[in-house]
């Protein structure tokens, strides 16, 4: 694929990243008369249920640095993170009208309470708080999660005006599995040759996936992989880092660009984590011989990425991050936390401790989705990247 094609692909994903009024969703609905769209907030929602009901899952990620907050600030105190105020802004100014329902995942108390705010502000919309088990036994957490999924299956079926059959669910599972595979390949390519697939482009691709049907997005990712692999981009003398803590409120694209320009190759991250929360395909070797809801339950219980809002019992906090550093051959870790983000900021000291035990360098900074000044972060990341180059053993 030519450089022009690669540029065109990136331009398309860039447009989708900036599509805060969800024009892509409106277009999709116009092209599929009678269908509906269901928004889900970060981080994890069982989007297979939405797809299975013939509806479009839409990742609601806030307004980033694209939206001026006029009314949203009136809903939240200054010490609450930025994401919910821009989501409210988009909600009250009509940008999210194209969504017929909303799922609010159990990421933190702010998104949890936002589900109640939504019920109050938008009584005509379907609103559901998606609780997930923190007990990972099949008999307890699994049984309860199954009841939650069955409830959502029935609710979403009613919203879509059709029954969600097992066959529908398996079809959706396969579509999202394919999307997971494509994203996995993308991450592998970036870890291997980050100069060919820079994070500023990978990030755009992932953000684009929040507004596209999963199968269309998987194809876009595969097209990008082919184009990036075939490109003649050359390696720079940059440090390899893992970026972590940015799983919910997303940084502005310019912050990612800043980190790269400061000398960092981001070789793994938890940006836009939702679609990658289940590490491996949900359909396993047993195929469709079993109950699809059981397959969704099993995937959550056994194949979720360890992250701040998932309880890992007595396993070592930070061990998974250290393993990522090792497998991605990273030289250090950037902790990037949204201001006032409890999950990310409370996790950070524990993860830092695990890194310290293994002698892995790290630095940390905070951001908001609308951060506009990057000089301090650029200097910090640049110094960090230089120090890795000078003193790292990796």
């Amino acid at each position: 694929m030519s450089a022009a094609s690669l540029d065109a692909l990136v331009a398309r994903t860039d447009a989708l990243l900036r599509d805060v009024r969800l024009d892509a969703v409106r277009d999709w609905k116009a092209r599929h008369p009678g269908t509906k769209a269901v928004g889900y907030l970060p981080v994890f929602a069982p989007v297979e249920l939405i797809t299975a009901a013939g509806m479009l899952p839409v990742g609601i990620i806030g307004g980033g640095d694209q939206v001026e907050i006029i009314r949203g600030d009136a809903y939240f105190q200054s010490y609450i993170c930025h994401l919910p105020r821009s989501v409210i802004e988009l909600g009250v100014n009509g940008a999210l009208d194209c969504c017929d329902g909303f799922l609010f995942p159990s990421t933190c108390d702010v998104i949890r309470n936002l589900s109640g705010i939504w019920k109050v502000l938008f009584p005509g919309k379907y609103v559901h708080y998606v609780d997930v088990p923190q007990d990972f036994s099949r008999g307890r957490g699994g049984a309860w999660y199954r009841s939650e999924l069955e409830l959502m299956r029935a609710d979403l079926g009613r919203l879509a005006g059709r029954e969600v059959t097992d066959a529908d669910l398996w079809r959706a599972i396969r579509i999202h599995d394919e999307n997971r595979r494509a994203l996995r390949e993308l991450y592998d390519l970036r870890a291997k040759e980050p100069w060919k697939a820079p994070t500023s482009e990978v990030y755009r691709l992932q953000r684009a996936g929040l507004l596209l049907p999963a199968d269309e997005h998987a194809q876009l990712v595969r097209d990008y992989i082919a184009a990036a692999r075939g490109s003649d981009r050359r390696e720079l003398d940059q440090s390899r880092v893992v970026l972590t803590g940015a799983f919910c409120e997303q940084p502005p694209l310019d912050l990612i660009v800043t980190l790269e320009r400061a000398g960092c190759y981001i070789v793994d991250d938890d940006l836009v984590l939702g679609p990658r929360m289940i590490r491996e395909p949900i359909e396993d070797a047993r195929g469709a011989d079993r109950d699809p809801i059981e397959a969704l339950v099993d995937a959550f219980l056994t194949r979720t990425v360890p992250t701040a809002f998932v309880y890992i019992g007595e396993a070592e906090k930070g061990a998974a991050l250290c393993e990522t550093v090792a497998t991605r051959r990273a030289e250090g870790v950037l902790f990037a936390s949204p201001s006032f983000c409890d999950p990310s900021l409370l996790d950070r000291p524990m993860l830092a401790r695990a890194l310290d035990r293994r002698g892995i360098s790290h630095t940390s900074f905070k951001y908001a989705e609308n951060t506009g000044q990057f000089q301090t972060i650029r200097e910090q990341a640049g110094t960090f990247a230089d120090s890795l180059k000078l003193w790292s053993d990796a």
Binding site: F104, G116, K119, R140, W144, F340, P349
Partner: protein
């Protein structure tokens, strides 16, 4: 608007002192038992106030430790600023819950409890994950500090405003298959179901009396302050004593004292003595500030503002809506208890409850004390403010402070807000009189 305090009736003050003295002694005995735990061989279980399983913990002979209570006590004793600074030096963000940082700092400074005696390390961390995301992080942090097992009790959130049979079963299954075996292992004892049931019967009795006390605020004047005074009244039942004979006795004493105040037509007693005439009846949402607790209370009491109902006094159980622990269904009732704690209710349910309090307690207004530390409480409170105003027609006031970080208690600003708010109520009253409505 300030009114001179009325002389303190000696009999009422003495009667009040009986329950206060009883509570003080209970706490002293408990912290002394904790300090001697290693010596006596007593096992300790750290857990949280919302969704606490005190009867279950005590039925195994183990002693509960509640880090939130230790943190708030540190706040009241002016120690929290140093503890928080200690935690922040260790890399904890200035943005996160100050209860957590206060607890971590206290631990790093020797884990000296509120009575000045050392607290024992936990033999078990019972992570009752009820209504607060931070609880999970808090015990993960403690897990790194202590060499002891952790057992997680995940209590689903009432996202749709109800506790479903599936939720109850999930919690019961965890109690039966995880929590009880963990307690059995730590204590070396098997569960005595009859003992648990008898403790739950004691809980229900104390809960009856607590509700009677809280609902006494329906009287005019209210004999209690159901927020500032209320935090003392909930002390035993929300901490280490639910299901004990001591708690039953404490609430019986308190009930008698409050009944006597009602009969005498007396208002609440504050740390500075009995309040003057009841000028304003307020409902309060949100936890108090602990670092300037007395000063905060005085800002209300000096103006004759009595808090007649509060949501903070429901974080360890919403008993006034009818829930009681049930000795006939011990695990199911513990599950229902956990699911029904205030911060596990969704926002519309919280709005319903506050609006109900405004009407039931004939409040002139409601005040939200929004604390920086607690997103579980605070996220959405500005929506609560508007909704309750709309539903009840009474004005809402909004104050911002923190739990135990004194940097976030701006006394002059808060006092100014309270006074302005009460003046607004006064003006509305005058306006209603002017247009011929009942004041």
């Amino acid at each position: 608007m300030s009114t001179a305090p009325v002389p303190r009736p000696a009999a009422a003050a003495a009667a009040k002192d009986d329950s206060m003295a009883a509570q003080k002694q209970m706490l002293a005995d408990h912290f002394h038992a904790l300090a001697r735990a290693r010596e006596t061989g007593a096992r300790t279980v750290y857990t949280f106030v919302p969704g606490n399983l005190t009867e279950l913990i005590r039925t195994f002979g183990t002693l509960p430790v509640l880090p939130e209570i230790n943190a708030l006590q540190s706040g009241m004793r002016k120690k929290s600023a140093d503890y928080i600074a200690e935690a922040e030096k260790l890399g904890h963000s200035e943005d996160v819950c100050t209860y957590v940082k206060c607890d971590i700092g206290m631990l790093k400074r020797g884990n000296i409890g509120p009575t000045g005696e050392p607290l024992p390390p936990p033999d078990l961390l019972l992570l009752s994950y009820t209504g607060c995301f931070t609880f999970m992080k808090w015990f993960e942090l403690l897990q790194q500090e202590y060499d002891c097992p952790v057992v997680m009790l995940h209590v689903p959130y009432q996202g749709d405003g109800k506790a479903t049979p599936e939720m109850i079963r999930y919690v019961v299954d965890q109690l039966r298959e995880k929590v009880i075996p963990a307690l059995e292992k730590v204590s070396g004892k098997r569960l005595d179901a009859a003992d648990l049931s008898s403790r739950l019967a004691l809980s229900a009795k104390a809960e009856d009396d607590l509700v009677h006390v809280l609902q006494s605020a329906r009287h005019r004047p209210s004999p209690i302050d159901a927020y500032f005074g209320g935090v003392y009244y909930i002390g035993p039942i929300f901490s280490a004593f639910r299901g004990t004979p001591e708690a039953v006795e404490y609430y019986r004493l308190l009930r008698d004292e409050v009944d006597a105040r009602v009969a005498a037509g007396l208002g609440p007693v504050t740390p500075d003595g009995p309040m003057g005439p009841e000028e304003y009846r307020l409902v309060v949402e949100g936890p108090p500030n602990w670092t300037s607790f007395r000063e905060f209370w005085k800002m209300f009491s000096d103006e004759g503002a009595t808090c007649v109902a509060s949501t903070y006094t429901k974080v360890g159980g919403v008993y006034d809506l009818g829930f009681r622990h049930d000795p006939e269904e011990p695990l199911e009732s513990l599950a229902r208890y956990c699911l029904g704690c205030y911060t596990n209710l969704n926002l519309p349910s919280r709005i319903d409850l506050i609006a109900r309090y405004v009407k039931e307690y004939q409040a002139d207004g409601f005040v939200i004390n929004s604390v920086k530390s607690c997103n579980s409480f605070s996220a959405g409170q500005l929506v609560i403010l508007r909704q309750v105003e709309e539903r009840t027609g009474v004005p809402g006031g909004f104050i911002e402070s923190d739990l135990v970080d004194p940097r976030y208690f701006s006394a002059a600003n808060i006092k100014n807000r309270i006074e302005s708010y009460l003046q607004m109520i006064e003006q509305r009253r005058a306006g209603r009189v002017a247009v011929g409505q009942a004041p």
